[in-house]
Structure formats: C-alpha cells, structure tokens
Amino acid sequence: MPAMFIRVDMTREVAGDRELANKLAEVCPVNIFAQAPDGSATIVEENLDECVLCELCVQAAPPGGVRVVKLYDGTVLER
C-alpha cells in the first residue's frame, strides 16, 4: 500500500551523493532513507508513513535538497 500521509522528495544531486546518502540513512530514526548498492540514496516507501517529522533529513541535506510533505494538509518541511 502506498504511503497515505507523508511524501519525501529529494533532488537528484542529493540522491547521487554517496556521502549524503549515508548521512540520510544514518539520521532518519525510522529508516525512510536507505543506501542502494551503488551508494545512492533511495526512499523506503513502506516506511514513509512512520515519519516522525523530526526534519533531521531536511537539516542534513543542503537547502532544497530534501522536502518532507504532509499529504494530509499540504505542509512542506524544507529549508
């Protein structure tokens, strides 16, 4: 079942940055980010609704690199 409450967007630059991908996987407390075998960042779809809106991913990425969208009211968490 697709996520009902949360969507996370990240730019291609963020996804392709191995170091950043590792950092995102490390900071997310509910494992929404994972590192693919090639080192790029991927979104773990089944964990999206577990997002606790801590914004650690938003802070870890450069401005505009990661956006967290609350699908239930349209609010976007970004910097």
């Binding site: 079942m1 409450f5 509910v30 609704d49 606790v52 239930y72 009211d73």
Partner: protein, 400 residues
C-alpha cells in the same frame, strides 16, 4: 502473572510462613507415596491457575494412601476451565479450629498498598466485606517505610485479636507483606489461614500474582520455580485473537499495542494511556456498550503497530465499529496513532468515517492528528470531552 498454589507455598516457605506438610505428585503412585509418608488423612488439590477448584471437583480428601492414589488419578484427568492440572498437591489434612483471611494488594484510589484482615476466612473476601463488613479490617501502608509488627498488631487488634493468637498472626502478616514487596506482587493472599486445634497457624490456601513487568527483576526465583519466560500464566489459555495481539506487539519494540483480551461485543477498542484502558472499558460498559476486546496501547507505538492492532480488531467477527480513546498523552503521539488506525481501517477495506465511531486522543501532536482525522471524515474530540463522554458517544453510534 499467577502462580500455582504449590509455587505460592514455596515462596511463603522462604519467608518462614507455616505450611502444612506435604508435596506434589505427577501421578497416582507418587500421591500414594506422599500420603503414606504423611501417615494420616490428606487433602489433594488440583494445581491449576483458575479458581473454583472445590466446586469443579479439583479438591478431594483421602484417609488412606490407596484413596489418595485414586483421588489423584481423578484430579489429574479433570480439566478445570479448560486447564488440566500440572500436578496435584498432597498435604496433611489439618484439624482446623477457625479460619482467617490475610491479603495484601494495591488500593488504586489511595495509591498505596493495603493489608486486609478478616476473622472470617475460607470464603471470598468480597463476599465477607459485603455481608459482614464488621469482620473485615483494612490498613494502608507505605512502600518506603518497613512494615512493622506494631502496624500488623494495630490491624489485627482492631478485630479483637489478642494474646498468643495476636502474636502468631502478626508474624504471618508481616511475612506476607515482606513477600509482597520483595517480589513485586500485585496480590498476596492467604485464604484460608487456618488456626489449628493446638493453637498454631498454617496456610491452607494462597494466591500470589506478580506484576508482569517485574518478571525480569525476579528471574532468579522464577528459574528456581522452573517458570519459563514464555509461560503467560493467565487464568485461561490465550485465544487465537490474543495470541495474534501479542504477535503484533512483539514485532516492533516501539511502544505497546498488545495485551489484547477477547470479548464478544460489537465495539472494538483501541484504548490506553495511564490506566485509561480500564476507565474506558468500564465507561463503555456503563453506557450499555459491548466491547469486542480490551487492549492497552501506549508508549508511542509505531504507525505499523497501531495499524496491525486495528486490522486485528477489525478482523474479529461481529465488530461493527471501533473506538479510539486514550487519556491525555505526552509520550505517545496522537498523530502517529491516527495514521496507524486510519491505515488499518483502510487496509481492512473500510471507510474510516464509518468504521471509527470516535477518536479521542488529546495531547502530543493533536493538531496534526485532528488534520488527519478531518481529512478522512472521522469524528474526533479534544480533552474538553471526557473519556467517559467519548465512550458514551461511541456506544451511541455503534449500538448495543
């Protein structure tokens, strides 16, 4: 968690509480040998966790070893409330002159442990309290200050106990309190405590309940008693629904969404927080509702856990609606529970607006929770609506 009577007596023996001579038997031959060693009339008791053994035929008397073997054979084959005994106790039949009651438990209203004494033992203490209130004495005590002989004597003397009887009963009472505190019991009860014809006292039957959460603290004594970690020790075997509830809880370490108890009603309950489960369950019944289950949710469970619990409850035949009600939450997030419950309803193929009779979880992240609920058309309320009123509304919408 409950203990079998023979285990209770082993724990009481550690405190030096006087017990009848005897032991346990796993087969008729062992019962015969025990009875022969005791050299006199014996009482044989089924070792099951449920009450009502006497009425069910789980307690028998025997005058000879042969009779004891026959009685043991019958008891060991007799299920009581669907439970076969783990063994049978064989004890010397005591020449009882009078029976007393001693119990220690927690008084939830006073928020203190309470010692209860009655000079009318052998029957339910609730019945004595109702029919003969003058024969029941209660005394609250502190868990911080040691319970002294003086305090015990105050309690016992309030029902007219004096002399040697007072001295003997004081020893039993203080030891029972010590056991209660040492092993984190929620109930420690000796009923009846028999006064024998020679003036001495002996424990005829007893009941101990240990706080489930304290099991790890007492692993040594549980190992000594041979109690395995996976033994639930409830009064009846868990139902399939309850086993699945425990599995939901075990999958994820975050929060609690287990302790599901099955009932036959039509209103599924997702309830909890600081004693909220009991309050809400009672309120539902007060307004004529029929709970399909009891449960405890709290400690900030994950979305997945709340979802799986919801799906489990909705999978139960006869459940028309669910009510999601908690006390004011601080560590549990209302929005996370809202996500989980709505997801569970949707994944079960239902419309949240129709299936959730009410959502009342005020507190942490309630603003986000209310937005989520609003989007799905679910009726919700904040802390200005009491848990009792929320339960009433749920019952009204679900029907009785």
């Amino acid at each position: 968690m409950r203990f079998y009577e023979f285990e209770c007596k082993l724990l009481l023996a550690k405190q030096g509480v006087p017990l009848p001579h005897g032991g346990t038997a796993n087969n008729p031959e062992q019962a015969r040998q025990l009875a022969a060693e005791l050299r006199g009339p014996v009482v044989l008791k089924s070792q099951v966790l449920s009450g009502g053994r006497m009425k069910a035929g789980g307690v028998k008397f025997a005058d000879t070893p042969e009779e004891a073997a026959n009685a043991a054979a019958e008891i060991l084959e007799l299920p009581i409330r669907d439970q076969l005994p783990v063994c049978v106790s064989v004890e010397a039949k005591a020449a009882v002159a009078k029976e007393y009651y001693l119990g220690v438990t927690y008084d939830a209203l006073a928020k203190k442990p309470v010692m209860i004494f009655s000079d009318m033992g052998g029957i339910d203490i609730e019945q004595v309290a109702e029919e003969h209130p003058g024969h029941v004495a209660k005394q609250h005590f502190s868990t911080l200050i040691p319970y002294t002989d003086f305090r015990a004597k105050e309690l016992l003397a309030s029902l007219g106990i004096t002399g040697g009887e007072l001295t003997a009963l004081t020893g039993v009472a203080t030891k029972l309190v010590r056991l209660f505190q040492q092993y984190d019991m929620t109930l420690a009860e000796i009923n009846p405590l028999g006064k024998l014809e020679d003036g001495s006292f002996v424990v005829l039957d007893c009941h101990l309940d240990m706080e489930d959460e304290a099991r790890e603290r007492h692993q040594a004594v549980l190992d000594e008693l041979g109690i395995k970690p996976d033994e639930t020790r409830q009064g009846r075997p868990p139902t399939e629904f309850e086993i699945r509830g425990a599995q939901v809880d075990a999958v994820d370490h975050r929060g609690v969404a287990g302790r599901v108890v099955e009932f036959d009603g039509n209103l599924g309950l997702v309830i909890g927080a600081g004693g909220g489960s009991l309050t809400i369950f009672d309120a539902v019944q007060k307004y004529g509702g029929k709970p399909a289950n009891y449960c405890e949710i709290g400690g900030n469970p994950s979305v997945n856990k709340a979802m799986e619990l919801t799906k489990l409850i909705l999978s139960k035949p006869g459940v028309d609606k669910i009510a999601v009600i908690m006390n004011v939450v601080s560590n549990t997030r209302a929005d996370i529970v809202a996500r989980g419950v709505i997801k569970g309803v949707v994944e079960s193929g239902h419309d949240p607006a129709q299936k959730i009779s009410i959502f009342r979880i005020p507190g942490s992240w309630e603003a986000d929770a209310f937005k989520i609920l609003g989007k799905y058309g679910v009726e919700y309320c904040d802390r200005s609506v009491s848990m009792s009123e929320a339960a009433r509304r749920a019952v009204e919408k679900t029907g009785t």
